[in-house]
Assembly symmetry: C2
Homo-oligomer: 449 residues x 2
């Protein structure tokens, strides 16, 4: 039912490619979806990838190209001339995919590809789409859609739809516009089926539809589609002219991207990496955060060095506990803020309200944790004064880390910096160092080190 990529499959395919046995190769992949073929190509040596790719029919190759990993697509496009790219691939694509692919090409190649397109309507749609930022509604939308005039009858509407459907692969919604292309509403297939053929569209269309502006940020587009449970969304320009539509599959990609970005930030990975990337790519994505952690560690060493730890060396025992708790609480607080901001559920909150609630949570958690540690440390045989020091320090560190973890992402967001930056190693490191400082300060007071 669903294609499963196995080692045996790849082994067999490689063997047939070595033998240049074209017919038997095509038999193997003939039932595969373009997304599956893209996965297969990703697993082959580049030489074999090229051989297999050349065997594909143009319209399949176009679909496969869209589904490929960015790096591999770039490599494959490099070995094709602008004319080939235009006629074999781009001419077979929808406008949104075509624009995405062309935008990745070097500047001089872009123009050449556009000039070789046979479908001149597509060419002008692509030029139009290239004007929009990649991460806006305009950058996401496709131009292919079915639209009808509100003055038409159902009969004329069906006739026009028939003409327009030639260019549109999948029809989900019929848009209704006025003479100036201003979006007025939608017409469901249901209404079209159930209404007699002489009715006028404006009487049976649904008004009050959800639409977005072409300049809206892609994250907001995803939130809108998600909130209103839409699977296709019309895009308008500043004059409310209908200029395109976004489908849920594109928005799913965005959601996945954004979620991965946040997750990776929280885990201390700075670039989009997968386990299939090379050692060097993975190293590059991880090293920066480790360096931040190291700098924090060196500061931590300096902080401990300020105090006379030799006299009260037992304080060292609880350094890991204090540092870890500061980090953990900070990340928890930051994560809740980041998630609320991302989900757009921050409608009515403001920074001070949020800080007060976080203070409440920190007090409850802090009092529970510091009571437990007071008891546990004393029962484990550490001195009462040390136990009290650790307990008070822990309460202070939890409160401080919570406020800090809430404040930083909210502040970053206010200045339009991605608040997810504040999660992960960044906030852990800062809270580590500050936690140690608080701990030794309290130790100095109680244990007079």
């Amino acid at each position: 039912m669903k294609f499963e990529l196995t080692k045996d499959f790849i082994g067999e395919l490689n063997k047939r490619i070595e033998n240049k046995d074209q017919k038997s190769i095509i038999t193997m992949i003939t039932d595969c979806h373009p997304a599956d073929i893209a996965e297969i190509l990703d697993e082959l040596e580049f030489e074999n990838t090229c051989f297999l790719f050349e065997l594909l029919e143009d319209n399949i190759a176009a679909d496969v190209l869209v589904e490929l990993e960015d790096d591999l697509r770039e490599e494959l496009l490099k070995i094709h001339s602008p004319k080939e790219i235009a006629e074999e691939f781009v001419d077979n694509m929808d406008s949104d995919d075509a624009a995405d692919i062309i935008s990745e090409l070097p500047e001089n190649k872009k123009q050449e590809v556009l000039s070789h397109l046979e479908d001149q309507d597509l060419a002008s749609d692509i030029v139009d789409l290239l004007n929009y930022d990649e991460d806006t509604a305009g950058g996401l939308m496709a131009k292919e859609l079915i639209k009808v005039n509100s003055n038409w009858s159902v009969m004329r509407c069906v006739k026009e739809m028939r003409r327009q459907a030639e260019d549109v692969e999948l029809v989900y919604t019929i848009y209704v516009v006025d003479d100036n292309n201003i979006l007025l509403g939608t017409l469901s297939l249901k209404r079209l089926l159930l209404t007699d053929s002489k009715s006028i569209i404006s009487n049976i269309m649904k008004e009050d539809i959800i639409k977005v502006s072409a300049t809206m940020n892609q994250e907001e587009v995803a939130n809108t589609m998600n909130k209103y449970d839409l699977i296709v969304l019309p895009v308008v320009n500043d004059l409310n002219h209908l200029i395109g539509r976004i489908t849920a599959d594109d928005v799913m990609d965005i959601m996945k991207e954004e979620a991965e970005k946040d997750y990776q930030m929280a885990s201390g990975i700075s670039e989009d990496v997968e386990s299939s990337d090379t050692v060097w790519e993975i190293t590059r994505a991880r090293l920066p955060w480790l360096l931040i952690g190291m700098i924090g560690g060196l500061f931590g060493a300096k902080v401990i060095g300020i105090f006379d730890i030799e006299k009260n060396y037992q304080m060292a025992f609880f350094i890991p506990l204090i540092a870890a708790m500061g980090g953990n609480v900070g990340v928890q607080s930051a994560a809740i803020v980041v998630q609320s901001l991302a989900g757009g559920t921050y409608t009515l909150g403001n920074i001070s309200q949020r800080l007060i609630k976080e203070l409440g949570v920190a007090l409850v958690n802090g009092i529970i944790c510091s009571s437990i540690i007071l008891l546990a440390a004393y029962l484990l045989g550490y001195s009462l004064l040390l136990s009290i020091t650790v307990s008070i320090a822990l309460l202070s560190v939890i409160i401080f880390a919570a406020l800090f973890g809430t404040f930083i992402p909210l502040t970053l967001d206010k200045y339009k910096i991605d608040p997810a930056l504040a999660t992960g190693p960044f906030i852990t490191t800062i809270n580590d160092v500050l936690g140690l400082f608080i701990y030794f300060l309290i130790g100095q007071l109680i244990l007079s080190i």
Copy 2:
């Protein structure tokens, strides 16, 4: 264009509700989408929420109910009789939403609601849907769909669609089945429009369609829909009978849920919380991880206590660095594994291959970091022996934490436990303790403490 919930709006609404000014209240919310009304209700005192909810027309109230937060929906359903729930709300819902709502009711109320439904087809659809696990394709699907027989002509097809469309709110795809309800293919609106009315459906339908089994896990459903860029997906039973369809909006909810769960796990939050939850709810979600961190901290204290730190108290300076780096590396490694597993991109990898690559990354990162720390510590005035100790310990800790961070989630996944458990405080804590142990062991050898 998009409704924005403001404090002023809520203030004004509260005032009108106090005055029981029904007409002016309705004016305020008349243009709001049910999802917006749900957001508004969430911001009001419960008494006002009830008042406003009772003013809604039945079909709007049904849509609003579906969009509400779980807790509030439960409260509102409690104050309605089974008969009211059936006739006012459930009768106005699609089968998937209706089944979700009824599944949340207490057992005795379920039966009563079902018996009061006017639409008996809906009742039997709901009973059917209640048989599937909530987190499977069957639990996600709706029964409402348009299907035609492969033997019909286009003309008969349109006639039948007209009849079926009465029950289906939105039509995205027309499914083609044989006489035994076995799914054969789909018919695009495009084909229907472009083909003459005497053609037989089996000649114009699209075969080779992607479908899923009713027992497929929801995460896999989301991956399938995402991979093949689908916005609607048919569901079949073991006999390949067409039994329902899943739309992209439901899958977007799943994707959001899964991403939030992973993100919260990585951040040390154990339940689904939002910044709008109460202090106690947020505390409860965060405390368990803090307790794990504390237990780790106590173990850390014991580990340091084993060694004679009094003689070499300077080793304490680098405890935070060693602990932090072990934690950071472990989380990074685990995150890459968790993400690959979630995205289903682990097709060809196996545990030993993955560990070898991770070893490579750890070696590169470890050698860079330990070289820097050797130089930095020595230049900052720490003794050469201490600097060497820290440097060697850091390299060992990075390698160890990386392997551990990779191994644990892969092992959890093998035993069908959510690998995301391995990220966040859990792995940080274990790596903290083990890192300290390695550090002091090396210290004992080099500094002979």
